[in-house]
């Protein structure tokens, strides 16, 4: 049987950093990722931060990948950060750039599926030097511990592990022969199966989770620059709060990538469960509020309805020619409206000058109009839809991020700083990874991979991380900066009592006072205030309504339907169902009919009642009585995992994200 010092389960940003760091510390490590290619199951917002703290070091992405700043396929450097209070078509924008820059070295917008491929290349190269590497398309389904002498215990079927825990473990997958691992790093994300298999923790409560839903919208690079007033390579982040949420706790985001925008919503899952609403409908409402529409709108070609009375052959000739020309037009347009693409095209000798590209673009456009009757209208170009749970670190972070010989990192360990306008997960998983790698290195040195030794040492390292303190306690310095930013809100239009309250908050001395009072309050009371519906919804609405500017839509767009979205996703169907409903009648499962982002849960009419032909009311009752699951469209977001037997798909199967 093969046996390795270190096995990493999960090839997201956290797992890959662990592989890189273990390899750099001279430890042969193998990473198993169920998606193929690597990165195909990653979803983020996302802005990747590099941070610095006065009270201790954090391991940043550039510490793990030394050529990150020069080589990594990041999107734009985020240099401006705004919070937008919304009410109807009114917006009030607060500049939070200072809060964004707080303890920040740099921040980039990233597309996780792409960036993870780059991380994987680097990590694999390093791991290969020691005979380790990455294996894609392998799903870990169990871990078995062999108690020395006393037989084996399967993680999933028993309360395994003595207090010290066995380090003699065997990894069981769907795709490979079993193999041994001395240390295991669980980087299998928010829906960690390893955490459940090993009994390290139970399923996360809805209170400890957010549901994030997003889409990638394509807009040519130069148009993004112009629209957001950006210099080359610079980017902006916009957060949104107010009436977009239909009363749910959470908000929206819009980040600029190089030639796409990441647009999405993040809501507390418990809030969604209370009044379930379809994430795709919420997303569509978000896309159609004027301020968002104006950001994402783009000119798209609209082909003329084909004249069906024409001879068949002629119809085909038109279609064929049209689709070819449209393709050319699109390619030319993205080239022309991107200085980089323009230069590349000229350098490659495809065109001799920018004028030539422009001339060709106009020529093709003219041809489309004249020969095919194509018109050009405003709409938007959505290229990918995605959804995933996000662990709310404050409530989801594992107290003991280890079990037996397993160390939990990143989302799997419930990490993340999500507080109001602070959104950080990727950087924290990377910091975890570096610490876990150090713990494994020490354990190997001492030949002791036990829970008591390696596990505890890892916990100690994690405790030393400034991020841990940040997750546990609200950072009042940050809050102060936030409040200071809110000073810009003009007070005149507000009723006297609110004005007074604002004024008090804005006085520095009161800020100090307030933060000392806040410091004295216990964390959960404080969280109740910060994360209240008032803070997420009512106050922003109030602000927008009273002092916001009216935004007029410059165009109308037609958001994609969920069926169109699913149709565009690449999902490799797994014939073996990976999710099983426990109780098809439970409230939770019924809520999934609305909350599953790809409509996998559907109501099934009950036959009994229709046979009896009972009254309208009774029938209604029967109609909502049973829920069935069609797992084929599942994108493994985890929303339904709480009351189902939930696993990821087998290796290579399931969702394949291109952007992430």
């Amino acid at each position: 049987m093969d046996r390795f010092d270190a096995v990493i389960v999960g090839g997201g940003s956290a797992g890959l950093a662990a592989l890189m760091e273990l390899s750099r510390l001279g430890i042969q490590a193998v990473l198993l990722e169920s998606g193929k290619p690597i990165g195909s199951k990653s979803v983020s917002g996302g802005i990747l931060y590099s941070k610095n703290y006065p009270n201790g070091r954090v391991y940043n992405v550039e510490d793990i990948y030394p050529d990150f700043l020069d080589e990594a396929p990041v999107e734009r450097r985020i240099t401006r950060y705004y919070l937008n209070a919304l009410s109807g078509s009114k917006v009030y924008t607060i500049d939070l750039t200072e809060a964004h820059e707080y303890r920040t070295n740099f921040a980039y917008s990233v597309l996780m599926a792409r960036l993870n491929k780059w991380f994987a290349e680097r990590a694999e190269e390093e791991a290969a030097k020691l005979g380790g590497g990455i294996i894609e398309g392998v799903h870990v389904k169990d871990i078995v511990w062999i108690d020395d002498g006393s037989g084996s215990s399967s993680g999933s079927s028993s309360n395994s592990g003595s207090s010290s825990g066995s380090s003699n473990s065997i990894i069981v997958t769907d795709e490979l022969e079993e193999f041994g691992a001395k240390a295991i790093i669980a980087a299998d994300g928010v829906n960690s199966e390893i955490a459940l298999i090993s009994n390290a923790r139970g399923k996360l409560e809805p209170e400890a989770l957010y549901q994030g839903v997003k889409c990638i919208v394509r807009v040519p690079e130069d148009i993004i620059d112009e629209r957001f007033d950006l210099d080359d390579g610079e980017g902006v982040a916009h957060l949104f709060a107010g009436d977009i949420s239909r009363g749910h706790n959470g908000g929206g985001f819009l980040y600029t990538n190089r030639d796409t925008l990441s647009v999405g919503l993040v809501y507390h899952l418990d809030s969604l469960l209370k009044s379930p609403i379809e994430p795709y409908n919420m997303l569509n409402e978000f896309l159609t509020i004027p301020v968002i529409t104006n950001y994402i709108v783009d000119e798209v070609a609209v082909p003329k309805e084909l004249d069906r009375t024409l001879p068949k052959e002629e119809q085909l000739r038109i279609r064929f020619g049209l689709s070819r020309l449209l393709k050319e037009y699109e390619g030319l347009r993205y080239t022309y409206y991107s200085k980089h693409a323009r230069l590349d095209a000229i350098r490659q000798g495809l065109y001799s000058s920018e004028e030539e590209i422009k001339a060709r673009l106009e020529e093709v456009r003219g041809k489309l109009e004249k020969e095919y009757g194509v018109t050009f209208a405003n709409n938007y170009v959505e290229v990918e839809y995605a959804c995933k749970l996000v662990p709310d670190g404050k409530r989801a972070m594992m107290d003991k991020p280890y079990k037996n010989n397993i160390l939990f990192i990143g989302d799997a360990a419930g990490k993340g700083i999500f507080l109001g306008t602070r959104i950080e997960g990727i950087n924290i998983g990377i910091d975890d990874a570096a610490r876990a790698a150090r713990a494994v290195a020490r354990a190997r040195e001492m030949s002791n991979f036990s829970e008591d030794y390696m596990g505890r040492y890892y916990a100690q390292l994690v405790d030393e991380s400034p991020y841990t303190e940040d997750i546990r306690r609200i950072d009042f310095e940050y809050m102060k900066i936030f409040v200071r930013a809110c000073k810009s809100i003009p007070l005149e239009p507000f009723p006297l009592f609110l004005r007074l309250a604002f004024m008090l908050i804005q006085k520095t001395i009161v800020q100090e006072l307030a933060s000392s009072i806040a410091r004295m309050m216990d964390q959960s009371t404080l969280l109740k205030i910060i994360e209240s519906n008032d803070a997420y919804v009512k106050i922003p609405m109030e602000v927008a309504e009273r002092v916001g500017r009216e935004v007029k839509p410059i165009a109308e767009i037609r958001p994609l339907s969920i069926d169109e979205r699913i149709g565009r996703l690449k999902i490799r169907e797994d014939e073996v169902p990976h999710i099983r409903i426990k109780d098809p009648k439970s409230r939770f499962i019924k809520a999934m009919v609305h909350l599953c982002p790809t409509k996998c849960y559907i109501m099934e009419a009950s036959e009994e009642v229709s046979k009896e032909g009972a009254g309208a009311k009774a029938r209604l009752k029967a109609v909502v009585s049973n829920v069935i699951l069609q797992h084929e469209g599942c994108i493994e977001c985890g929303t339904c995992s709480r009351e189902t037997e939930w696993r990821h798909t087998r290796g290579e199967k399931g969702i394949v994200y291109e952007y992430g």
Binding site: D2, F4, V30, E124, A128, G131, G132, G133, I134, I135, V138, E175, L176, E177, F179, K312, E313, L316, R317, R319, F320, S323
Partner: protein, 294 residues
């Protein structure tokens, strides 16, 4: 034969073939294959043989040598083979004299080639057959000439280095009846012909890692394939000219007959390939199926 125990020397015989995949085929007006315009590639069955050789490299650290008989352009097939099995050597047997060879004459050339590889070969991999009208006999005939055991239709195999035996699983399709799966064992040296349904299946972590590493090395070597390549003439190989090429080919192709098909409900229309209008109609029909009304 003298052997270092634990060492496996493998050879793969591959063939350059017209790319019969969609969009790459060109036909003469009379409906025959236009060989000069059709792109040539490593034949799909040869590719499978390469994969099986890679398996030997991954699992038994085999030394692998790929050979092909063909025109100078056949080095393309060797380059592609390199990308699949990370070969240590490439051999091209190219000589006017070899032209017009049937399977027996080809086998004769390859026999000489394999004997000249500088190592005593333990196992030879060949494809099932070529796509451009070959009868699947080159493999067995080469085995016979080399005096190797022959195992055909192989879908899986393993080698026991200790006993120097190859275990193979064969799939024998009896059309309309049933499929037989047969496990056989043979001492080395042996020649195995891979069934088209052969899939490499690396079930161990160490194998997957090694495979990934070797594939990287393979694409590096494929870029630099010429430095692994040796081209042999008939003289270099020391063949007896009476047994190779057209002279050595006893097979007479009397007539190529189409196997009568069972009656189907489909209708076909013959289209004159020189008639642009007619071709456009075909294109349109295909287009209609792809993008047409739903």
């Amino acid at each position: 034969m003298n052997h270092d125990k634990d060492v496996i020397n493998a050879a793969v015989m591959v063939k350059l073939e017209p790319d019969l995949s969609e969009g790459n085929v060109s036909y003469n007006p009379d409906g025959t294959l236009n060989r000069s315009q059709t792109k040539n590639i490593l034949g799909p069955h040869s590719a499978i043989a390469c994969k099986a050789a890679m398996y030997a490299k991954v699992c038994y650290d085999a030394w692998v040598s790929v050979c092909s008989m063909g025109p100078p352009t056949a080095e393309i097939a060797l380059r592609d083979a390199m990308g699949l099995c990370c070969a240590d050597e490439l051999h091209l047997y190219s000589d006017r004299i070899f032209a017009g060879a049937d399977t027996l004459a080809t086998a004769e050339t390859i026999k000489h080639g394999i004997r000249k590889m500088g190592r005593s070969i333990d196992i030879v991999f060949s494809g099932h057959r070529a796509v451009d009208g070959e009868t699947g006999q080159t493999g067995p005939q080469t085995a016979w000439k080399l005096g190797f055991n022959f195992i055909g239709n192989v879908i899986d195999y393993s080698i026991d280095l200790e006993s120097r035996m190859v275990k193979a699983r064969r799939k024998i399709d009896l059309p309309g009846l049933y499929t037989v799966i047969e496990d056989v064992e043979s001492p080395l040296p042996a020649l195995i012909a891979l069934d088209p349904s052969y899939r490499d299946n690396y079930r161990r972590v160490s194998e997957r890692l090694r495979y990934a590493r070797l594939m990287k090395e393979a694409s590096r070597r494929a870029k630099d394939y010429k430095s692994y390549l040796r081209v042999w003439s008939a003289k270099d190989l020391g063949v007896d000219v009476r047994y190779v090429g057209l002279a050595g080919s006893p097979t007479i192709v009397y007539k190529v007959e189409k196997i009568p098909k069972a009656k189907a409900s489909r209708r076909a229309k013959v289209v004159d390939p020189s008639n642009v209008e007619a071709l456009r109609e075909v294109g349109n029909l295909i287009f209609n199926i792809a993008f047409g009304e739903r």
